[in-house]
């Protein structure tokens, strides 16, 4: 029933005389709407734009924009005038060449498209150094660096080469006439033809003194080897032949003595069946910093540099001498274990050391010689380090004293990379003549009178001798982008020769290297071996005085300087790929930092904090070495030896770098006298540093289904069911394997026909080197997002290498701790404790990319079906279909999907290589560059598998195993990643799929991935 009641909401309403209220009641809106908003400008200015107006504007402008966008752009196509015979648009060409920048050496293949190099690959046929590390993979981007020098300069002004020659020749002649010495400072250049050219040059200008300068020195090892084996070189090692590897501070999976050992090491790490029993090498690592090598070791014993020397002496004594060395109890037990293993292995044992001390290095040689180690190859030593510290220091002294007339620096930057750079800078300015050969402006070139712009190595000719009789050739893969000339060509011209470097190489090779072999073949292959059997040298170690091993007292803190996997000696600091490359151990990009042990950090009040959004912050420390003090951010590093701190080279450069790349502090300032170990004092400083760390959770917390691992003994004695447990699920109170079709809720795809791609990753042979990460970047046009974005966890790496620490001393211990938790209260406490890594944790690496699940959770939640499943096992991602809901990323158990939060190309906010024409030349034309608002992820390099299939169809051939590759499996020199067709029953990957060690990541989720892992087996006694 209707009622006559009057409802009121304001007392004034009851007053019928209230005119204002009446007016309000009549009108819908309190104030009149502006109606003439478009016709009357004044009214428009006065009026406050209403919501309606706003909608009108939006509607109008959207419609206008839509209509304007209907017209497509006119695209021009410019063919060659005369097309080179070997170039066919759309078909890549490969060239074999060689990188030798004084720090990294290797035989590589360069993939070029339409004449521009786009990717570096290892040269698998090359017998020596045929593997490319992360830096070599990234070096292709340095070719397209916008900050490269465009031409020669004299006194800060651009000049022509003719003018340059005129001026420099006059200077050289004047100095030669007055017989003033000129220092020719070069990096290690094991190039037969270059050495000839330099000799010729010196014969023309006898006042020139050549000095070889390794930025990071291996002087002690060189001196030692020279003393006992008569050649200034470094003994080579083949770890694949080793059963016991003892390393005392030698980061041989990193840059120790030039690196390049991971392939051989990985071979020895795979448990191979031998007479029904699996065997693998056992690796002991005594070190102060947590290195990549240490992380891979079976036994890692953190110890100070002083202790390392004691251990080395102790091992020597126990193995060879009769004197009983002294050692502290804890170290002794570990050292004894190592000695026992060495003794047991006999000639299959090897000992290496990175201690920068001549006597220590001599001990290493003596021990290996005594063991008659098969892994030790002194008869074919490496020539990739030649630096002579004594000569360099003398030269620096002479420059500073002003007793020399000039300095020619070739590809080295002593002002930046020496401890007293500022003094050197002043002295070089005072010199009568200074000439710097460099491809980019740097601190030394800046103060030099003349700068000779040199080409990138991919634009250059060159020949190298890595080991006696092992030659390599470098050839240009692109014409010089800028007006540059090679150092050798300049020397030839200055020496008054008319021939070019290329002619000289060819002539020299034909004369004295190739013999009857073909030059064209050598150039095609990129290498040439002509090993003549060397006379065996039997060194005499009887005079070796172990007592002379200087053992500094271990009071106070020691700083141990090291080179990082990504940055190396810092030559490529302007390379955004390397800057964003997360360090394998710390997982931090865009920085260097002082690594310090947990207990030392606590004592000094240094902290690492996770901020509200999870990003990592660290305290600053003021670090003093001698008279130099630097303010350095601190990272608390599990596994760092107490009493030591670590700092990496290569950062802190300012010149020739874009603003974003000017990161970190310059560790060379502490590199006094080329000693990597320095006494240091550390104090807490103000402020907090913001790190860009990509992994914020460091421990595995006993989650055994992520990384499965076992020990060799269990692997040999127990069933697979014991050490590689298949998760179970209960159905009608019966337990089934999760992979059983009985408990599967999904419809199975039929994959029996055609190809079924699988990728196997062996956790035993993966060293975490990160070459795959950079190769993936290059192949798939992965954008660089910058430090700020990485800090927000928006890194775009399609492939990441997770690094886990154990919170107990072993991962096995973690599992036990987790299993023994009882009750909620206990679990909270225990899990809290388990988040902290141990002081000396076990470490495991796990490369994770899209797992290409056969039952993919991402596919079911995509509202627009942008991600779907292919019959060949790949999980497809159609970027043009994606609307960016990010449901897929949220539903992915592996967190491998990456979202484009911004437009990363042609955007000044992200001023990396994709923001300029030059940098964009590195992009792979077969892979689309993704735009903003689109989800992306690993495609299992479908462009590569499709290419392989097409090539087979064109040739009408059956595809053989090994033809299918992905960028990561191709870059994996250690053979940890194997890719192939599971339906090819004879393939390697099919065998690995049936291997007992095979498991899938998070098997219990039931996603049935097409990426599999092989259980990590540690060769330790502990259970």
């Amino acid at each position: 029933m209707a009622s006559n009641k009057t409802y009121w909401k304001n007392l004034d309403q009851l007053d019928s005389n209230n005119v204002d209220l009446k007016k309000l009641e009549e009108n819908e809106f309190v104030s009149k709407l502006p109606e003439d908003f478009l016709s009357d400008e004044k009214a428009l200015e006065k009026s406050i734009t209403s919501r309606r107006d706003f909608l009108k504007y939006v509607g109008f402008s959207t419609a206008a924009a839509t209509l304007a966008a209907c017209e497509g752009p006119v695209i021009k196509s410019v063919p060659y005038v005369v097309q080179p015979e070997q170039i066919r648009p759309g078909v890549p060409n490969y060239y074999a060449t060689t990188i030798a920048d004084g720090f990294d050496f290797g035989s590589i293949l360069i993939k070029t498209r339409e004449g521009r190099p786009i990717k570096v690959e290892s040269n698998p046929d090359a017998p020596t150094l045929g593997c490319a590390n992360a830096r070599v993979h990234a070096s292709i981007l340095s070719l397209y660096d916008t900050l490269r020098l465009k031409g020669p300069q004299a006194n800060g002004k651009d000049v022509s080469w003719d003018n340059f020659y005129l001026q420099t020749e006059a200077m050289l002649k004047a100095l030669a006439a007055s017989n003033k010495e000129i220092i020719l400072l070069m990096p290690t250049l094991p190039s037969p033809t270059s050495q000839k050219i330099i000799t010729d040059f010196i014969s023309k200008y006898p006042n020139i003194r050549p000095v070889v300068y390794d930025t990071i020195s291996s002087d002690a090892a060189l001196n030692s080897f020279e003393k006992y084996y008569g050649k200034r070189a470094l003994a080579d090692y083949d770890f694949s032949k080793a059963k016991t590897i003892v390393s005392i501070d030698a980061d041989f999976l990193g840059d120790w003595q030039g690196g390049g050992y991971e392939a051989g090491y990985a071979v020895s790490r795979i448990p191979n069946q031998n007479h029904g029993k699996a065997e693998m090498s056992q690796h002991f690592q005594f070190e102060s910093n947590m290195s990549l090598t240490g992380a891979n070791a079976d036994y890692r014993i953190p110890c100070t540099p002083a202790d390392q020397k004691n251990i080395l002496a102790y091992i020597h004594d126990r193995l060879i001498g009769n004197i009983t060395g002294q050692l502290s109890e804890n170290l002794k037990s570990n050292a004894d274990k190592a000695i026992a293993a060495l003794k047991k292995s006999g000639s299959k044992g090897v000992l290496v050391s990175g201690i920068e001390d001549e006597i220590a290095q001599a001990i290493v040689l003596a021990i290996n010689s005594h063991l008659d180690s098969e892994a030790f190859i002194p008869e074919s030593p490496k020539l990739t380090r030649q630096g002579n510290t004594k000569e360099v220091l003398e030269a620096f002294k002479a420059i500073k004293a002003g007793t020399v007339g000039g300095l020619i620096s070739v590809g080295v930057n002593p002002v930046f990379s020496s401890s007293n750079g500022s003094e050197l800078e002043k002295a070089i300015k005072e010199l009568e003549f200074s000439l710097s050969f460099t491809s980019k402006i740097n601190e030394t070139a800046e103060v030099s009178q003349f700068i000779a712009a040199t080409p990138h190595y991919l634009e250059s000719w060159g020949d190298y001798e890595f080991k006696p009789g092992h030659f390599a050739l470098a050839q240009p893969t692109i014409r010089p982008l800028f007006d540059t000339q090679q150092f050798q060509d300049v020397l030839l011209r200055l020496a008054g020769k008319s021939s070019k470097f290329y002619d000289q190489i060819k002539a020299h090779w034909n004369e004295s290297i190739l013999g009857s072999s073909s030059w064209n073949k050598a150039l095609h292959d990129g290498y040439f071996s002509n090993e003549t059997p060397q006379e065996e040298i039997i060194p005499d170690f009887t005079k070796l005085n172990i007592k002379a091993l200087k053992t500094a007292n271990s009071d106070g803190m020691s700083l141990v300087l090291y080179s990082k996997t990504g940055m190396g000696d810092g030559q490529q600091a302007n390379n955004p790929w390397l800057q964003e490359f997360p360090d394998p151990i710390t997982r931090i990009s865009w920085d260097n930092y002082l690594t310090i042990s947990i207990s030392d950090a606590k004592a000094l009040g240094l902290k690492n904090i996770n901020t509200a959004n999870g990003a990592l912050n660290g305290s600053y420390a003021s670090v003093t070495v001698g008279t130099q003090t630097l303010k350095i951010p601190v990272l608390v590093q599990p596994g760092q030896a107490i009493g030591t701190v670590g700092l990496s080279f290569g950062y802190g450069k300012r010149m020739g770098l874009k603003d974003e790349m000017q990161t970190g502090v310059n560790a060379y300032k502490f590199y006094r006298g080329f000693e990597k170990v320095q006494n240091v004092s550390i104090n807490l400083d103000d402020g907090e540093h913001e790190f860009a760390c990509v992994q914020l959770h460091n421990t595995l917390m006993g989650r055994g289904d992520i990384i499965k691992e076992t020990t060799l003994e269990i692997f040999n004695t127990k069933d697979k069911a014991y050490w590689n447990v298949m998760p179970q699920v209960s159905k009608n109170h019966i337990e089934f394997d999760v992979t059983s079709p009985e408990v599967d809720m999904w419809q199975e795809f039929d994959r029996s026909i055609g190809h079924h791609f699988n990728l196997s990753i062996d956790l035993n042979s993966c060293t975490g080197c990160g070459a795959c990460v950079i190769a993936c970047h290059a192949e798939n046009n992965v954008p660089v997002v910058g430090k700020r974005e990485v800090r927000k966890s928006r890194d775009m790496h399609w492939l990441r290498i997770d690094r886990y620490y154990s919170s107990d001393s072993t991962f096995e211990g973690d599992n036990e701790t987790k299993d023994s938790i009882s009750g909620i209260g206990d679990s909270l406490n225990t899990f809290g404790e388990m988040e902290q890594a141990a002081a000396n944790p076990q470490v495991a690496f796990q490369p994770v990319m899209c797992q290409h699940c056969n039952h993919a959770p991402c596919e079911t939640v995509c509202p627009v079906a942008a991600t779907s499943h292919g019959r060949q096992g790949q999980n497809h991602m159609a970027y043009n279909r994606c609307v960016g809901t990010r449901y897929c990323a949220n539903n992915c158990p592996y967190k491998v999907r990456r979202f484009n939060w911004f437009l990363y190309n042609k955007n000044d906010e992200f001023d990396y290589h994709m923001n300029n024409d030059l940098g964009r030349m590195v992009l792979n034309p077969d892979v689309v560059v993704r735009s903003r608002g689109v989800m992306e992820k690993c495609s299992m390099c479908i462009q590569m598998t499709q290419k392989t299939i097409l090539d087979a169809k064109l040739k009408g051939e059956h595809i053989t195993d090994g033809s299918f590759q992905t960028a990561c499996s191709n870059a994996c020199d250690s053979g940890a990643m194997v890719f192939g067709d599971l339906n090819d029953k004879k393939s390697k990957v099919a065998a690995l799929h049936n291997d007992n060690r095979m498991y899938h990541l998070l098997e219990s989720v039931g996603t049935k991935p097409n990426v599999m892992y092989q259980v990590k087996v540690r060769n330790t006694d502990e259970v």
Binding site: C70, K76, V928, A952, L954
Partner: protein, 443 residues
């Protein structure tokens, strides 16, 4: 698109009109052929040697020599006047030996042509050479006849152009006659009616509701038509938006007027002769200019059919060939490359978005699909245009319908067998081979 249909319509119109004027055309051509025949007869009369010489010239010499113009070798008109006949015999049979022997004339000519060696023709007899020389010396007589022939051919050619206006005039005349006739007939009828006393004043009809009012009053009709109107407009709006970005019929003006009709049609050059990378690469490739010069080094002027209506005269085409020479840096005068090049900036017609991967080799070589399947009747295109819509629906449809060429391809051997068993069919479509999967084209 419009342009295409228009031109098609125009062609149809012209053919129809031509059939109307066929008798005239036949007449004219009969006259013309008679003239040409007459001319040929003149040559034949002149000398059998010239005829034989012409044959030999075309077979052996024409690749490098022209009559009136310098090509790879010198122009040969009146060559016998310049050199001794015996000298010519030796030269033609073995020029290299002559140069080597240091013959002054031989060396001079060798050097003038930058040391390019003339092919030796030991198979030619002295008589053959005499015939060739007769041909090169021959000056075609009867310029009067030629002029006449040219004149008549012009009248024939322009006949089509004149006829259009003629027809229009004729048609309008016919119309005018018809209208007058109608008017006259009506007047006569009126007169007859008047005379026979028939009342011809129009009857007054009872007033009815106008149809529009009836329509407005009928609500059902209004509703139905509004719905229909909305539906049809929605259909057209949808149609409009779906063709945004679809450039079917895109026919841009190119920097050089390159006629596929002449090259692929009239001269029947294989598509993949120029677009050779279609065999091996994802790109079909726009041929580089050196490929053009394979033929155009010798073809400096156009001598084919003309299309006067569109202004495609011989001169027009010859000028386009000169554009090529300018771009590639070919000095016609001296028959050598100057080295000054100017790459041609063609306008790309078939533009696939970046997110689509398309491979020509896959379709052309493996699938053995003809180029025309997607690019249309290129051999009939005077100006190249986009024939297919290049939309995803269009790709997918073809993948659904096309069978994969599995025969004699080792790669497919096992897969085909297994898949045939699975689907129970002998032939397999691309779709059944997985050709509809997103990731096959989008990565």
């Amino acid at each position: 698109m419009d342009k295409v249909t228009n031109s098609i319509k125009r062609n149809i119109l012209i053919t129809r009109l031509k059939s109307f004027f066929l008798p005239f055309i036949i007449l004219i051509s009969v006259l013309l052929t008679q003239k040409i025949v007459a001319q040929e007869v003149v040559i034949a009369d002149n000398s059998a040697a010239v005829q034989a010489g012409k044959k030999l010239f075309n077979a052996n010499c024409a690749a490098c020599h022209k009559l009136n113009k310098r090509a790879v070798g010198p122009a040969l008109k009146g060559v016998s006047a310049k050199y001794d006949k015996e000298w010519l015999y030796t030269w033609i049979k073995n020029s290299t030996a002559m140069v080597k022997s240091g013959d002054a004339q031989a060396v001079a000519i060798y050097e003038e042509y930058n040391g390019s060696v003339m092919t030796s023709f030991p198979q030619l007899s002295n008589l053959d050479i005499d015939n060739i020389l007769a041909y090169t010396d021959y000056i075609p007589p009867a310029p009067v006849a030629t002029v006449k022939a040219v004149g008549s051919s012009t009248s024939q050619m322009s006949g089509a152009g004149v006829s259009n206006t003629l027809i229009l005039i004729a048609l309008s005349l016919v119309f005018a006659i018809l209208v007058t006739m109608l008017f006259l007939v009506q007047r006569t009828l009126m007169r007859i009616a008047k005379l026979s006393g028939v009342d011809i004043t129009p009857q007054v009809k009872p007033k009815r509701t106008p149809i529009w009012l009836a329509f407005v009053q009928n609500q059902f009709l209004v509703m139905t038509s509004v719905i229909l109107l909305l539906l049809s407009s929605a259909y057209f709006v949808y149609g409009f938006f779906m063709q945004v970005g679809v450039d079917q019929g895109y026919m841009p003006v190119q920097p050089i007027h390159y006629s596929h009709e002449i090259h692929a049609g009239a001269n029947q050059i294989e598509c993949k002769y120029c677009h050779s990378s279609a065999r091996v690469s994802k790109h079909s490739g726009i041929p580089s200019l050196n490929v053009c010069m394979n033929c155009h080094q010798n073809i400096a002027e156009y001598n084919g059919e003309e299309d006067l209506e569109n202004g495609y005269t011989k001169d027009f085409y010859t000028k386009e060939i000169k554009k090529l020479y300018a771009a590639v840096g070919w000095d016609e005068e001296n028959q050598r490359y100057t080295g000054e090049t100017e790459p041609v900036k063609w306008v790309r017609i078939h533009n696939l978005p970046d997110f689509v991967y398309f491979n020509h080799a896959q379709h052309v070589e493996v699938g053995e699909i003809t180029c025309q399947k997607c690019h249309g009747p290129v051999e009939e295109m005077e100006i190249m245009y986009q024939y297919s819509p290049l939309t995803m629906g269009w790709c997918i449809n073809c993948h659904r319908e096309t069978n994969v060429k599995v025969e004699s391809n080792e790669y497919y051997l096992k897969i085909h067998e297994a898949l045939s068993k699975k689907y129970g069919v002998e032939k397999l479509t691309v779709a059944q081979m997985g050709g509809l999967e997103c990731g096959k084209c989008h990565y």
